[in-house]
């Protein structure tokens, strides 16, 4: 395998709070190859957004502590100074945020926000930067881009603002695009439009994408590889098909089981994962999923390493002590459904 574009190794982010040390990201490692889409999947508090923000140098808190490394084309991102980050941000690694309503500056015309970024990184003359901006807006599907380039953000709908965000992110041809829940705030028909546009743009630009999301439907639509996060750790990692058709970690089973599907007859009851994710200030010892897992056994009190457990499948790694045979049997507890048995309906 060729040298990865972005290599994250043993990334740890913690925050000191009144309740103690919150370990938001706990030893996350992954590689991102050029042109691939890596989906980071997890629920609130799993550390997926903190991971993304940290790579961009945007986790700014006096209480935060960072450990580990993230190397982009030989440049270390963790602990890099602001000047260095400014060179990388926008030009090499760009970000699309979840909420298009709050992530554009409301008092500047959208055109000038994009032009500013182009000029900052490439120093183009005004006319050229403006021309590129109009082209970008056309490419992301904004009708009458030449007129609308001088509009303010409030003159756009949510879907159109998200397109502006994407145009802004693509303005300097970045090699890595970090998209944090890019379609969560949008209506489904608009989400479908944006996803299609992202697929097309990916073909055209060849940028690698880190897609942070909780929506496995969106993941199935666009990702090449998936990392499933739970309580700060990656619990399973593999290709799209490995995760969907041969999931190894009980949390992944639960996640896959609890999504509603519109293309299949509805089940009598929705399979739910019992209980709640742990508080990050007070995580259970060993496997963090242990208290919610119906298959817990003695060994689970020590931390399972993230490693390839399936023979001949080095790409597919997980953190679960169960043997491969056990997993095959146990994930099929409910006929036809990959899901956990509802251990006990009441959360702690």
């Amino acid at each position: 395998m060729s040298e990865p574009l972005l290599k994250v190794e043993d990334l740890r982010v913690s925050f000191t709070t009144e309740e103690g040390v919150v370990q938001a990201v706990d030893g996350v490692s992954f590689d991102l190859a050029a042109g691939e889409v890596l989906a980071v999947v997890g629920e609130s508090g799993s550390g997926k957004s903190v991971t993304a923000m940290t790579l961009m140098g945007l986790t700014r808190s006096p209480n935060a502590r960072f450990e580990g490394t993230a190397t982009y084309k030989g440049t270390e991102l963790i602990g890099a100074d602001e000047d260095e980050l400014r060179r990388v941000r926008g030009a090499e690694i760009a970000m699309i945020f979840q909420d298009p309503m709050t992530s554009l500056n409301p008092v500047h015309r959208i055109g000038s926000q994009i032009i500013e970024q182009i000029q900052e990184h490439e120093g183009l003359p005004d006319a050229q930067a403006r021309e590129r901006t109009v082209e970008l807006l056309e490419r992301v599907g904004i009708p009458r881009a030449r007129e609308r380039v001088d509009n303010y953000p409030h003159e756009f709908s949510g879907g159109m603002r998200q397109r502006v965000m994407i145009a802004l992110a693509l303005s300097c041809n970045p090699s890595v695009l970090i998209a944090d829940e890019p379609t969560t705030a949008l209506d489904v028909t608009i989400q479908a439009q944006i996803l299609q546009r992202m697929r097309d743009l990916r073909q055209e630009t060849g940028a690698a994408v880190i897609l942070v999301t909780h929506d496995l439907g969106v993941v199935a639509d666009i990702a090449d590889r998936i990392a499933v996060m739970y309580a700060g750790r990656i619990v399973e990692e593999g290709t799209l098909d490995q995760i969907f058709y041969d999931p190894q970690h009980p949390y992944t089973w639960g996640l896959l089981g609890s999504i509603t599907r519109v293309d299949k007859p509805r089940p009598e009851r929705l399979p739910a994962i019992a209980g709640l994710p742990p508080s990050l200030a007070d995580r259970p010892e060993g496997c963090h999923f242990r208290p919610r897992c119906p298959h817990e056994f003695a060994q689970c009190t020590s931390v399972p390493p993230l490693e390839a457990r399936l023979p001949g499948d080095a790409e597919h790694r997980d953190r679960c002590w169960l043997s491969v045979e056990d997993k095959r049997v146990k994930r099929e507890v409910q006929p036809g459904e990959i899901g956990l048995v509802d251990k006990e309906g009441t959360p702690a």
Binding site: E43, S44, S157, G158, G159, M160, D187, V188, T189, I190, Q191, A192, Q193, L195, Q196, H214, D215, L216, G217, V218, V219, A220, D221, L240, D241, F244, Y245, G254, L255, L256, S258, I259, T260, R261, V262, D263, P265, R266, P267, R269, L270, P271, A272, I273, A274, L276, P277, G345, T346, P347
Partner: protein, 363 residues
């Protein structure tokens, strides 16, 4: 409507040609109405006792306005609303008071809908106190309610911030249940929650409905979640009803192109299925409800639209199984089904009488 009075029980809620318009005013001293937002534009619906009606549509389609009007939280412009046979369209505060305990609401955002300065016991106990329970009885009732929704009764003295999103939504459900209502309006009750927690709340709502014989109006922005709770589903677009159908049938046999577009837009969490699936992406965005398009309101985005759709508003046609759809060019129905259909009295007044052309439309 599909649930005929007397057949599947008396309708608990009857909404008849309801219109809710919001005026847009201009002028400093003398405010003149310059335009109107057509939030709900001639909708007729009924909800039977014990039934769950899913009300689905994208932002701005009028689903929330509709649910608020049913709760009498906003005034309607025209049409009528009946609750258990009583006309409440113009009911004032005093007349509504005895009815309030029969209709409750659960809100979308479990962080904004609970007072952060009140303890859980006070939040859930307040409706009981207001409706005349003795102080000494309230605490035991609150504890029982907490247990009912799957929380620990000992948590009665905690504050909302000590709970997670899913637990807060359980508190919201307990508050709605406190007065043993007949109708609960659920306004996107799970959209703010994580998937694994969504399933817990959906299952809880399902159990409570059986235990308390509740009627639900379940408002949602997409078709994936409502399916698991609804008996019937109504699809709204730009203030109008597009389709009303028995829940399962809507997924296997969507008649309106808008419903079919909504279904196609939901990504399927199955990579192989996704690769196989034909992608129909509806272009454009919902138009401005201040000046809705002529004819069928969906025509500017509809792949099947013709001149007829631009000129004439289609009536709601009633097909088999009480399946209603307002479309000149319906999907998934045979020639015979189209011939067998008839114009439903719940059609908007402005709709024409033209039946879908059986020979041209059969699919």
């Amino acid at each position: 409507m599909s649930v005929d009075p007397g057949a599947n029980g008396t309708p608990l809620v009857e909404v008849d040609h309801l219109k809710v318009f919001f005026p847009i005013k201009q002028g400093i001293v003398i405010e003149r109405e310059v335009a109107r937002v057509h939030a709900v534009n001639d909708v007729t619906l009924s909800i039977a006792e014990g039934e769950t009606l899913g009300l689905v549509g994208e932002s701005g389609c009028g689903k929330t306005t509709m649910s608020r009007a049913v709760m009498r939280l906003i005034d309607s412009t025209d049409g009528s609303i009946r609750f258990h046979g009583d006309d409440i369209t113009k009911a004032g505060r005093r007349e509504m008071e005895p009815l309030r305990r029969q209709m409750q609401m659960v809100f979308q955002d479990p962080f904004a809908s609970l007072n952060p300065r009140k303890r859980v016991g006070q939040i859930i106990g307040m409706p009981l106190r207001l409706h005349g329970s003795e102080r000494k009885d309230v605490e035991s009732q609150v504890r029982a309610l907490l247990a009912k929704v799957g929380l620990h009764p000992e948590h009665v003295n905690r504050y909302p911030h000590e709970f997670s999103g899913g637990q807060r939504q359980r508190i919201g459900v307990a508050r709605a249940l406190a007065l043993e209502p007949r109708l609960i309006v659920l306004d996107e009750p799970v959209s703010a929650l994580d998937v694994s927690v969504q399933a817990q709340i959906i299952n809880l709502l399902d159990d409570l409905q059986d235990d308390f014989k509740l009627t639900y109006l379940f408002v949602a922005h997409d078709l994936s979640v409502v399916r698991h709770v609804s008996d019937r589903i109504a699809v709204m677009y730009l203030g109008k009803l597009m389709e009303v159908s028995p829940a399962e049938e809507l997924y296997t046999k969507p008649i309106h192109p808008y419903t079919s577009a909504l279904l196609a837009a939901i990504p399927i969490p199955d990579p192989n299925e996704n690769r196989r699936r034909e992608r129909i992406v509806v272009s454009g965005e919902p138009p401005n409800p201040i000046s809705p398009p002529s004819g069928c309101v969906f025509h500017p985005r509809c792949p099947r639209a013709t001149q007829l759709c631009r000129e004439e508003e289609p009536p709601l046609m009633r097909y088999a199984n009480g399946h209603l759809a307002a479309c000149h060019h319906p999907l998934n129905v045979s020639e015979d089904e189209i011939r067998g259909s008839e114009k439903d009295p719940s059609s908007p007044v402005s709709a024409g009488d033209r039946r879908p052309d059986a020979t041209a439309n059969a699919t």
